[in-house]
């Protein structure tokens, strides 16, 4: 398993952790009615910022742990950190597909807004499309590594 594949798995684990925490916390706060009114928008913005910063920190931690654990399992004292031209091409292919998915999510969010939905739903739809596009990107990249590229 090369460095990029490990990173893709680390990214998936990060996404699962961070979005689960976000969904649980935000759903609880939504149930308490804390996102209503102008202060609610500021609170939502803070929650999204926390999600982004938390995502970066969790990803770094998970990536380090994944590389250490997989190096121990594979009994490889000198794991490779090389990223080459094929990795970059696979990354580009994954990104291209993820842009389409995110674009569709963005248009859906705008359409939902045009139908009268509030800021809370629009921003959460954008976040959801971001999560789905990242998931699709990971699946496309893993498929390229498995099937050959």
């Amino acid at each position: 398993m090369n460095f990029e594949v490990k990173n893709i798995y680390a990214g998936l684990v990060t996404m699962a952790i961070i979005f689960t925490i976000y969904a649980v916390v935000v759903a609880q706060m939504y149930g308490e009615g804390r996102f209503e009114g102008p202060e609610g928008n500021a609170l939502l913005a803070k929650a999204i910022l926390a999600l982004m910063l938390g995502g970066v920190l969790v990803h770094i931690l998970v990536a380090i742990l994944t590389n250490i654990v997989l190096a121990i399992i594979a009994r490889d004292p000198k794991p490779s950190f090389v990223v080459d031209e094929r990795d970059k091409l696979i990354e580009l292919r994954g990104l291209r597909v993820s842009y389409y998915v995110f674009g569709a999510g963005f248009v859906t969010a705008i359409a939902v807004m045009a139908l009268g939905a509030g800021v809370f739903w629009v921003f959460n739809l954008l976040l959801a499309s971001c999560a789905v596009s990242t998931l699709v990107e990971a699946v496309v990249r893993l498929a390229c590594y498995r099937r050959g590229f």
Binding site: N2, F3, S80, V82, V83, D84, E85, R86, D87, Y145, G148, F149
Partner: protein, 71 residues
């Protein structure tokens, strides 16, 4: 655009060069072992620069190491 196939004799050349491993070749040309595996199986067509680097390792002309089959 239909894709042709870029085939090669890297596997044979590795064995003729002291049974060089895929990992050793990968380190010499600066790519991952998985990329060498993909090139050997003709699943990935390397860039021109990488193809030249591989040919240079074996001290063979590029067209001897790689061959192109049009679609």
């Amino acid at each position: 655009m239909a894709k042709g196939k870029v085939e090669n004799i890297i596997r044979r050349l590795r064995f003729e060069h002291g049974e060089m491993t895929q990992k050793e070749l990968a380190e010499l040309v600066g790519v991952t072992r998985q990329t060498i595996v993909a090139i050997e199986k003709a699943k990935y067509a390397p860039s021109l620069e990488l193809a030249f680097l591989i040919a240079r390792v074996f001290k063979h002309p590029l067209e001897e190491v790689f061959s192109y089959t049009p679609p």
